[in-house]
Subunit: 280 residues, 2 copies
């Protein structure tokens, strides 16, 4: 490996999401790979993706990656579950940069946790309807039983900043999780980057015997494994850069994003549409 700054190993890791949620993934990557430069992009002008059509999600995902390519990343992490579920093949067919999504790592952790038991999956309407998590789980264990249901209100609940003991959180989780409790799932995948904020409330509702799987840490581990394999871990001893870009309203991003990233967000910039949309 070279010590030069222009070495591929010293190029940044790019991470994107439809909005703020992917900051939980950025946080896990930043914690595990403390020397890496990270560029984050949140498409806050068009969030959420999870209620939109596959065609629109694919188009947005291509534009998001296009924007990040200007930073010459060594790797792009698709931190959005919806994009990971709908558009990974499309992105891999469109771009040459290596891409890691959150669905495969989440599925792997779920199968490991479930043992010979059942796997439950919650996520946005688009994620669940795509069947991507279900396929990823079956690819790892063809015989495993799966229950997958959309929980569309959880992301807006988290964005509103409600606490885990809030009556609305309790009522929503009770309703959404009842089928999973009735089915006696052994592992439950939080198939949306917003949901880890509600992890404790989900645990309380599901009971201690159910493993609650958060793909953020598993994805960070996959990123590390990939970079190790390719001998592309950053080898500069300098303080790493962490830069954040949003397509709308960096003030809202700052106030809510802090909870997701677990630290103050500095180096945040709101980009104009001309810099971003419909680049070819």
């Amino acid at each position: 490996m070279s010590d030069s700054n222009s070495s591929p190993a010293n190029r940044p890791i790019a991470i994107f999401d439809s909005g703020l949620g992917g900051l939980t993934v950025a946080r896990a990557v930043a914690s595990l790979l403390t020397r890496e430069n990270i560029i984050y992009f949140g498409d806050t002008a068009r969030v959420p993706y999870g209620t939109k059509s596959e065609r629109t999600i694919r188009r947005y995902a291509v534009e998001d990656v296009n924007f990040l390519l200007r930073f010459e990343p060594k790797l792009v992490v698709v931190a959005c579950n919806t994009v990971s579920a709908i558009a990974m093949d499309h992105l891999r067919g469109t771009f040459r940069v290596p891409l890691i999504g959150v669905v495969e790592p989440g599925a792997r952790a779920a199968v490991r946790a479930a043992g010979r038991g059942k796997v439950g999956i919650i996520g946005t309407e688009a994620t669940i309807a795509s069947g991507a998590y279900q396929r990823a789980v079956r690819n790892l264990d063809g015989g495993i039983e799966i229950l997958a249901l959309p929980t569309p209100l959880l992301a807006p609940i988290v964005e509103e900043g409600r606490e885990w003991d809030d009556p609305v959180v309790t009522a929503a989780l009770r309703g959404y999780l009842a089928p999973f409790r009735d089915a006696w799932v052994n592992a439950l995948v939080l198939g949306c980057t917003h949901y880890p904020v509600l992890k404790e409330a989900v645990r309380r509702e599901m009971g201690d015997e159910v493993t609650v799987v958060d793909s953020a840490e598993e994805t960070a581990a996959e990123v590390k494994r990939f970079l190790c394999d390719k001998e592309m871990l950053c080898d500069t001893p300098s303080f790493p850069q962490r830069r954040f870009f949003v397509s709308d309203s960096s003030q809202r991003f700052l106030s809510i994003g802090r909870r997701f990233f677990g630290a103050d967000l500095v180096n945040v910039r709101e980009i104009s549409p001309d810099e971003f949309f419909f680049q070819k």
Copy 2:
């Protein structure tokens, strides 16, 4: 008035919203003005607007009106409370077509209903933060007491199709409406086009002595008054056209939109980004 089809009076009424919610306004306009041709546009590819910045909301609103101008409407109804609250002045400065928003009609109905009492207003974060409803109410009655609070979860709750007696609806409304009950408001404005779907649940929570104001009907009345004044009511005896355009996923629009419009939606077309975004 002329009988010719090219007469300005026989041009359509255009109505737009960030998504589906404006269909409640389209429904009220269609019921009151049964002979008018109506063009509806829902920007479902970028919905919701209410959590986004003023700059982004203004930009989206200009693009929405630009799209509708190709139909040469005699009038554009801004059925979105967020756009009506944030961008009316900007739109009026940008376009020559007459524009009617939902804030003024809603405020007028609220002041009338409140008498000498207090007015409450609920809406998206952007609508409430803009202060537009508060200003509109004060312009009509400078001494009136106003309580305005954002209720960001109600629109996603309605979009998910929850019924009025659902535990999540009950918990959310109880929390959101408690300050209005404590303040003894006499009228409560439903300052988002999604909320009329929850009107009965709001009434149950607030009690019979509070008038719940839905701007859709008041806006339709304003549209009729405007067209009468200008002698621009449609004078063709033929069956009126009702056409619907969305920027994403007409299937979702059909299934959920039916509840808002109160009838099956026919003549729905999903437009491509090339037809719409960033027209000059």
